[in-house]
């Protein structure tokens, strides 16, 4: 078992563009769930919609910067459409609607009916050339220290990705520390009391949903750009689930929680996976019990169990404080 290379790969995964994208998406979800208390269980739909908005725009001949704007707007509009019927109702209804919507949208995008626009199950490729044209690093060259190396291409995406993550964090910090953020916190505390103080609770919740959704769209676009590819099967419900683990692990309702959560989660996730793959290949009785495919699923089972344990025993995550934890005492 090559611990060294497992560790190196773990670090690379943790600082890589995918983690940055997850961190950004988690920032959006954190605004919705951590700060506004909205049960958006379909966050992956915002990522999908943002990514496809961008890819389709470019596919139809538009420039990438326009595609990015379209992607952000599409994600925000999705937030509006989902929020409008559900935000005046109890939290469970938003949960149900978002879970249903995310899968339904994915299936529609995947269908051959939508093929003319979305290319169905095959997805759209090659829309991010203008992004990589801006890369100041020669794409094939290697950068790094020792065995911790990345290509110039990947480095560029990492830098852009983490910069966006930092910018989004700063944006959220600005919003949360403002009177707007205070109203949001009040809403999370007690909607009726906040209403009695003259605040339009519905409007605030809708804003949080839309902004969080737009940020999710940005994350989706980053992922799509990194792979120069959007396919519907990259936006499965398990992505939303992982995002929740990230948000709660880092500390729901904290500024740095999403980034911390993303980094810690990715490291654990990747390491467990590498361990399982290795033991499955090298240790006989494990190899008899589990196929390689099954071994790859173990990490997901652990994520589910981990989420349950987290919610029960440490709902405030790494950075959260117990008093502000999301458990509502009866």
């Amino acid at each position: 078992m090559d611990w060294g290379s497992i560790f190196i790969d773990g670090i690379l995964a943790t600082i890589g563009p995918v983690t940055a994208a997850y961190a950004i998406s988690a920032i959006g979800l954190n605004l919705q769930f951590g700060y506004a208390g909205l049960l958006n269980f379909g966050h992956v739909a915002f990522m999908l919609v943002g990514a496809y908005g961008m890819a389709i725009t470019v596919d139809l001949g538009g420039p990438l910067w326009l595609g990015i704007i379209v992607g952000i707007l599409t994600a925000a509009v999705l937030g509006f459409l989902l929020g409008l019927p559900t935000l005046r109702l109890r939290a469970d209804y938003l949960a149900i609607t978002t879970i249903a919507a995310a899968e339904a949208i994915r299936l529609v995008v995947r269908s051959s009916w939508a093929q003319p626009l979305t290319n169905g199950v095959f997805g759209i490729q090659g829309f991010a050339d203008s992004f990589f044209d801006l890369n100041p690093f020669p794409p094939a060259e290697l950068y790094g220290i020792g065995s911790l190396v990345v290509t110039g291409r990947k480095l560029w995406v990492m830098i852009v990705g983490w910069t966006i993550a930092v910018l989004m964090t700063l944006l959220i910090r600005r919003l949360i520390n403002s009177p707007w953020g205070r109203v949001l916190k009040a809403i999370r505390e007690d909607e009726d009391a906040t209403t009695s103080l003259g605040k339009n609770v519905f409007s605030y919740k809708l804003q949080a949903l839309m902004i969080g959704g737009a940020i999710g769209g940005i994350a989706g676009m980053l992922l799509a750009i990194e792979q120069q590819n959007v396919t519907p099967d990259a936006y499965l419900p398990q992505v939303t689930f992982i995002l929740y683990v990230i948000v709660i692990l880092g500390g729901a309702g904290t500024i740095l929680g999403p980034i911390v959560g993303a980094v810690v989660f990715q490291f654990l996730f990747f390491t467990v996976d590498a361990l399982m793959v290795n033991t499955q290949a090298n240790i006989d009785w494990v190899g008899d019990l589990l196929t390689p495919a099954a071994a790859g699923q173990v990490k997901l089972v652990l994520v589910g169990v981990g989420m349950m344990v987290l919610m029960v025993f440490r709902p405030q995550g790494i950075l959260g404080s117990r008093e502000e934890a999301l458990i509502d005492e009866r």
Partner: protein, 427 residues
């Protein structure tokens, strides 16, 4: 953790391991499959949601639908010689066989353990002309069947919500577990290989047991710790995720069919061709649902359940043992879900995420009927099932599930408390 809770956890683990692990050692069975691709010049388009029927000596062995990539695969019970028929009425407009003789592929020789591939050559076709009455009739029966399945699954979810306030996202896995457990007792090489009817019994019991274990081992201890409903909902999602992927590990990713009732010739009722197992599904479901209704109205436990659903505190002060009622509700929910899962497996195939795929429609049914009302879930289930199936009259087949979402959104806009819910302040 209390003794009872530990006891429950032990049983949960034991059941999972005993039931699921031997399934892993089943070799993949024989199957016939292929890819439906329409070729026009150099353009190749996959054909989705077309139906292929496998026959042996004129008897229908199994059916399957092509997915978004045009791929289809139908398990067959053993090695042998089969025929494959493409149901041209399920081809989209403009797609047809380039060689009409190839509608039925005969003498397909399947060896042991082989996944045989066959090809239906497709090109431009004429608009299909099936009589509207036949189509409407067949779709209506389909809708009733799907509705029956959804109703069975939805009632439990609504009941649990009624007595505890929890939307249990792991409900989907109770459905899948029922189907998988029945598969083990019925078709697994290391299982007793009972007929499906018999195998259903332990499956339903396991379902009820899973419900029991959840309540004893998870939800009741959490309630005792004053964990809020939001946190519990997230926990239920975690549970759903973990169990779903556990099932994936032990059952595998491939869909598998129940051998029993696989080869059923259709019969004619009022001029509509129906496969008998669909009628059985509808019939049994109606009987079971009626039984549930009677239980809720007449029995002491059922009445208590309704009382707790209306006002738990009041029920408690009237001397009802609320925790016991909640436990009974969970068991009933699990048992019904398992039964729904078996029928769902009979209708399509047993697959690791079958419950989750049905969840969207279950939610639509529950919200349509009114979260918390059992009768609402029943009616909602049938309405959603019929709506989804009949929507294919004017919508592409593959967008069926989206119809469920549309129903959901429309209800929330127009009448959020559902058909039978009370208009309390649900906001």
């Amino acid at each position: 953790m209390s003794r009872r809770a530990r006891f429950a956890w032990f049983w949960l683990a034991a059941i999972t391991i005993v039931v699921l692990s031997p399934v892993a050692s089943i070799a993949a069975g024989e199957s016939i499959g292929g890819k439906l691709i329409q070729t026009v010049g150099t353009e190749k388009t996959p054909v989705e949601s077309a139906t292929v029927i496998i026959l042996q000596d004129g008897i229908e062995i199994g059916t399957g639908q092509s997915d978004a990539e045009g791929a289809w695969e139908i398990p067959v019970p053993a090695a042998g010689v089969y025929d494959a028929q493409l149901d041209t009425s399920t081809l989209p407009d403009g797609v047809g066989l380039t060689d009409p003789e190839k509608e039925v592929l005969t003498d397909i020789n399947v060896r042991e353990g082989q996944a045989k591939k066959v090809i239906f050559p497709l090109g431009v076709g004429s608009v299909s002309s099936v009589s509207t009455y036949d189509r409407v009739g067949a779709l209506f029966v389909s809708g009733l069947k799907l509705g029956a399945i959804i109703a069975l699954c939805a009632v439990g979810l609504s009941l649990v919500y009624g007595v505890t306030g929890l939307v249990n996202f792991a409900h989907a896995e109770m459905v899948t577990l029922g189907a998988v457990t029945a598969y083990f007792f019925h078709a697994s090489a290391v299982g007793p290989q009972w007929p499906l009817l018999i195998a259903s019994v332990p499956a339903v019991l396991v379902g009820a047991g899973f419900g029991w274990a959840q309540e004893e081992g998870l939800w009741r201890p959490l309630r005792a710790r004053s964990v809020g409903l939001v946190a519990m909902m997230v926990v239920s999602i975690g549970l759903s995720f973990a169990v779903r992927h556990l099932i994936l590990i032990f059952f595998g990713g491939e869909p598998r069919a129940y051998p029993d009732f696989a080869g059923q010739p259709p019969i004619e009722i009022f001029g509509i061709s129906v496969v008998p197992k669909n009628l059985v599904t509808i019939g049994v479901a109606l009987v079971v649902l009626a039984g549930v209704g009677l239980f809720l109205q007449r029995s002491r436990a059922g009445t208590a359940m309704r009382a707790v659903s209306d006002d738990a505190d009041l029920a408690e002060s009237s001397g009802i043992d609320v925790n016991r009622i909640i436990l009974i509700t969970w068991m009933l929910s699990g048992g019904l879900a398992a039964l729904g899962g078996i029928f769902f497996g009979l209708n399509e195939a047993v697959q690791w995420d079958m419950g989750f795929r049905l969840l969207l429609l279950i939610f639509a049914a529950v919200v349509l009927g009114g979260l918390g009302t059992a009768y609402g879930a029943m009616v909602g289930g049938f309405v959603v099932g019929i709506a989804v199936e009949m929507s294919t009259l004017f919508m592409p087949n593959e967008l069926k599930t989206a119809v469920g979402l549309v129903v959901l959104i429309v209800i929330l806009l127009v009448r959020p408390q559902g058909l039978f819910g009370t208009k309390e302040r649900i906001g």
